[in-house]
């Protein structure tokens, strides 16, 4: 059974890598968004492998269901086709700087990670869903309320920003 888990991990990692590379390198933003969705599904598979099915479900519900629709609205409100603003090829200098920005911090973190490997369990912990619920309402109730407050402020801020003032125009 362990070989199956490793195989699933490799497949999910490949899905994540392919989706992420499509998301950052595609010329059309619609394709880029599809790559992002593929990455979300790959990460949801990783959550399943980590024995957290609730988080995998939430990943699909929140990211694929809500965030992707928001990004799709943003794509539709701008010119996103193959001749749009992202269509011009990325210059060599810009690509080099972007590679530097991506690889330098990650190389440092990766070196630390590989050098200091902590003790790990072979099997992930199983957390009951009731433990999560009682944690949200009991021990971490303040965080729960704060995130709802943040969402409320973000929502009303978005409405306020995008409001078309009619008397001015």
């Amino acid at each position: 059974m362990e070989i199956l888990a490793k195989l699933a991990f490799a497949i999910y990692a490949l899905i994540i890598l392919g989706g992420a590379l499509t998301a950052v390198s595609s010329k059309s933003l619609v394709r880029s968004l599809v790559g992002l969705i593929v990455t979300f599904f790959g990460v949801a598979g990783m959550y399943l492998l980590l024995n957290t099915p609730f988080l995998a479900f939430m990943q699909m519900l929140i990211y694929v269901g809500a965030v992707c629709v928001l990004v799709f609205f943003a794509v539709m409100l701008t010119r996103a086709d193959g001749r749009g603003e992202e269509a011009a090829p990325v210059g060599g200098k810009r690509r080099f700087r972007a590679l530097l920005a991506g690889l330098l911090p990650v190389a440092g973190l990766g070196a630390i990670l590989v050098k200091h490997q902590g003790e790990t369990k072979t099997l992930p912990v199983e957390v009951d869903l009731t433990a999560l619920g009682s944690g949200l309402l009991d021990q971490y109730a303040l965080n729960f309320e704060l995130i709802s407050l943040v969402l409320l402020v973000a929502m009303s801020g978005a409405v306020l920003l995008a409001w078309e003032r009619k008397e001015k125009k």
Binding site: L50, A74, G102, K121
Partner: protein, 102 residues
């Protein structure tokens, strides 16, 4: 290589690709997509650390839920900002948005 390290390496790959995207993309929408990639890497890293070590697993899962909520709030605000910028400047290229008042 332990399982925890492998999961953390996948999260690091997501971080690297996201950083590359946020620097190389021209438009705000492309940058938003890169930020979502990085947030996903953060969530995966937190869950892997919580599930595979002696740390509090409930806290880790709730922390990832918190990251997801923050990502949703951030995407909402960025969408509104993109609407305002494209209405005002006629484009969403980050380089074009460099003046406070025209």
């Amino acid at each position: 290589m332990s399982a925890l390290t492998l999961y953390q390496l996948v999260a690091l790959v997501l971080l690297a690709v996201g950083l590359y995207g946020i620097v190389s993309r021209r438009t705000l929408v492309g940058m938003l997509i890169a930020v979502e990639l990085m947030l996903n890497g953060a969530g995966l890293s937190i869950v892997a650390a919580a599930q595979l070590t002696d740390a509090n697993a409930t806290l880790g899962q709730l922390g990832t839920l918190l990251v997801m909520g923050l990502a949703a709030a951030e995407a909402t605000l960025v969408l509104a900002i993109i609407v305002v910028v494209s209405r005002r400047f006629g484009t969403t290229e980050a380089a074009a948005v460099s003046t406070l008042k025209e």
